[in-house]
């Protein structure tokens, strides 16, 4: 129980998980997870399917509630307190495997929704912000279209812009390229890489080893709901310590 009182912002980790357990019925999805993500750090979470990677990051913005342990985001602890949950969701952005854009709204409205509704920004300001974000993900010309008119890669980039519109302190990616055709993966990874370079704190669940190797500050390997190993990408790709990690890396590479 260390980080209870707010210290100066820069030293405090952005996200901490301490002894987190999570059950789905009687199935234990997370076992005693301990992880601390520092500011501007890019953490890549690897692991076989069903290992609890997605559940882990979904607990951080409370799309799932954890059953034991402590989770804090930028010093705010997650509990059943609705206010705290909304505050945390404001500080975190999330990008989903299936994009989950709102199909009944234009690209522009998808992005301005949160600024206008949550931050009460006037329409023209919100649209200016949205256009800047669309420039950043390199598709400003698609602003007035509906998500259904875009390719998968474009949709995922819009989803990233939508998350950035709340000006989050930490971005979480849940297999952002797994639903994409191969030729579109790069355009999304490029945007993510640019985001990492700009100093955004990121937690990425992904199978893109190239991305992990180049961009990650640390790699977390999970299996059966546990964190098996945490280390630098260098360490992971050359000389993993644990047997389970070795086996997984052999299968993937």
């Amino acid at each position: 129980m260390t980080n209870t009182e707010p210290t100066n912002g820069a030293a405090r980790p952005m996200v901490t998980l301490e002894g987190v357990d999570k059950y789905f019925g009687s199935f234990q999805a997370l076992r005693d997870i301990n992880l601390s993500v520092a500011r501007q750090e890019v953490v890549v979470v690897l692991g076989p399917s069903g290992s609890g990677k997605s559940t882990l990051i979904r607990c951080v913005n409370r799309l799932e509630h954890h059953d034991r342990g402590r989770i804090t985001v930028d010093g705010i602890e997650l509990s059943n307190d609705v206010k705290a949950i909304r505050q945390v969701r404001r500080l975190t952005g999330m990008v989903f495997q299936q994009f989950n854009l709102f199909p009944h709204l234009t690209v522009l409205d998808n992005i301005t929704l949160a600024p206008r509704q949550v931050r009460r920004m006037p329409r023209h300001e919100a649209e200016e912000l949205a256009m800047q974000l669309l420039e950043r993900v390199k598709i400003p010309e698609q602003a007035r279209k509906y998500p259904g008119q875009l390719s998968g890669g474009q949709q995922q980039r819009v989803a990233i812009a939508r998350s950035l519109a709340t000006e989050p302190h930490v971005m979480m990616f849940d297999e952002p390229t797994s639903a994409l055709d191969p030729e579109m993966i790069k355009e999304v990874l490029d945007v993510m890489q640019e985001l990492a370079r700009s100093g955004m704190t990121m937690i990425c669940v992904t199978h893109e080893m190239g991305f992990a190797r180049e961009v990650a500050s640390r790699v977390v390997f999970m299996d059966e709901g546990e964190i098996v190993e945490i280390g630098s990408p260098e360490h992971f790709f050359t000389d993993p310590a644990e047997e389970r990690t070795k086996r997984f890396m052999e299968q993937i590479l």
């Binding site: 913005n61 799309l63 909304r86 969701r89 404001r90 975190t92 952005g93 999330m94 989903f96 299936q98 989950n100 854009l101 709102f102 199909p103 009944h104 234009t106 929704l113 949160a114 509704q117 949550v118 009460r120 006037p122 007035r144 279209k145 509906y146 998500p147 259904g148 989803a159 939508r162 998350s163 519109a165 709340t166």
Partner: protein, 473 residues
């Protein structure tokens, strides 16, 4: 809906081969009607049947049919026992309603035009011709009604009301965006004023007027932004004050008017159906959302309401409403018969709508809710901005089907002795000269009046469905 001609941006495929030419009528018939012996026999038989049917139908409509009972009692069928010296109220109301609808129509056209312009998509404005083609059953009904009248006045009235609606649409389309916003309120005011002139200042008009003023105040103060904590309170006070003014003014006013207790004929069918549709929609929405609520009390209440109502026949409910709904209400003067009937129809339809909407809610993927939560939307906003728009869009055909049912079920009001159109038709054959004259003809007329409107509703819902691209995005 233009036929797709050869477009320059879609080059012909297949080495410049042209599309196959449209087959001639004879070729088409050979291909589809007489392509083998069985089909030929079927075609001849069914064709003969069709011809006989058309001949008999035409003979009934134009030769043997005794339309005198309908012709003589046209006014009675349409507005029943509505006091004749107050008919001008209906005229004024229709004019105001046309203006209101015209403004709404123009507003919708203009905003979809602007959206299309922003998106860089070509936009073709629906013209009056398209309107006539889409609404042809209604126009046929109007033509039949006008054809049966003996004076020119009704024709002049209908034509001028239509012209007013079209003009209002034009004006709305020509307005800049800021002006249009004000004109939306104008549409509401027109509709309210029409209602007041017709039925007097009382009952619904109070609530309607209050809602309109409250909406106006909220809208006008929306862009006033301070960080002061009293701001919501100040706004609330403003709204309450404005509503209080409306009520104070209404208390002083007395336009006279004919309340809906004194309405009858087709007018009663229309009003009862329209009122129930408008009221049942929020009821159904609440019950559907309530049924999925996390709170057990809310959930049980919704389930109880839905399942009790759906298990009881409408006729039974109407009788119950007629006989003892008044006992449960703590008012001195019991609600009028018409009001109680509308309340029952609202509750009845609400339960069915709830189940339809629930189906729509279930069709919205879980990821939509998660994405909305993840960007920090509060639960009510997730529901109103993300889930409901998608859910309702998915169930438009079923919703409209339910509305059509309700409209037709308004004839059941006759069994609790309300003089809607079917009851009026019965009373016509109590008149000495029509005791056994034109019994089929009056029924056919009533059937046609319902069909014309119900069919148009159905067509419009299909069109709406196409336009919103259900099943595409």
């Amino acid at each position: 809906m233009t036929t797709a001609g050869p477009s320059p941006d879609r080059p012909a495929t297949g080495a410049g081969r042209a599309a196959p030419p449209r087959p001639t009528a004879a070729a088409w018939a050979r291909e589809n009607l007489f392509n083998n012996r069985h089909n030929s026999v079927l075609t001849v038989l069914l064709g003969a049947g069709l011809v006989v049917l058309v001949i008999y139908g035409a003979r009934f409509l134009f030769v043997t049919g005794q339309w005198e009972p309908v012709r003589t009692n046209l006014t009675l069928l349409m507005m029943g026992t509505f006091p004749r010296e107050e008919q001008w109220r209906i005229v004024v109301q229709v004019y105001l309603l046309c203006a209101s609808v015209g403004l709404l129509w123009g507003g919708l056209t203009a905003s979809s035009r602007d959206r299309a312009r922003d998106a860089g998509v070509p936009f073709s404005r629906a013209r009056l011709r398209d309107g006539v083609r889409r609404w042809w059953p209604v126009f046929v009904l109007l033509a039949v009604l006008l054809g049966m009248t003996r004076t020119w006045l009704p024709l002049a009235f209908v034509a001028s009301a239509l012209a007013l609606g079209v003009a209002a649409r034009r004006v709305m389309e020509a307005l800049p965006e800021a002006g249009r916003r004000a004109a939306w309120f104008g549409a509401g005011v027109c509709a309210l004023a029409g209602w007041q002139v017709l039925s007097g200042t009382g009952g619904i008009a109070w609530w309607w007027g209050s809602a309109l003023v409250a909406a106006a105040v909220v809208r006008l103060t929306r862009n006033v932004r301070t960080d002061a904590r009293w701001q919501p309170l100040a706004r609330l006070t403003l709204v309450a004050g404005a509503v209080a003014v409306v009520w104070a003014v209404y208390a002083q006013l007395d336009f006279g008017g004919v309340g809906w207790d004194d309405w009858s004929g087709f007018q009663l069918n229309l009003v009862a159906a329209a009122a129930s549709i408008v009221l049942a929609f929020p009821v159904g929405l609440l019950a559907a959302v309530g049924r999925r609520s996390q709170l057990p009390a809310v959930r049980w209440l919704s389930v109880g309401y839905i399942e009790v109502i759906r298990g009881v026949p409408l006729i039974t409910l109407l009788f119950m409403g007629d006989l003892f709904l008044g006992f449960f209400l703590p008012t001195e003067d019991p609600l009028s018969k018409v009001t109680r009937a509308i309340a029952v129809m609202t509750l009845f339809t609400g339960a069915y709508l709830a189940e339809i909407v629930r189906g729509g809610l279930q069709a919205v993927p879980r990821g939509q809710v998660e994405a909305a939560q993840a960007i920090g939307l509060s639960a009510p906003r997730v529901l109103s901005l993300i889930v409901l728009p998608q859910a309702l869009r998915a169930v438009i055909p079923a919703l409209v089907g339910q509305f059509i049912n309700l409209f037709k079920d308004s004839t059941l009001l006759s069994i609790i002795a309300l003089t809607e159109i079917l009851r009026i038709r019965e009373s016509i054959h109590g008149q000495r000269e029509f005791l056994i004259v034109g019994i089929a003809e009056t029924l056919v007329f009533v059937a046609f009046a319902f069909w014309a409107l119900a069919f148009t509703m159905s067509r419009e819902s299909q069109r709406l469905e196409r336009r919103l691209g259900v099943g595409e995005r």
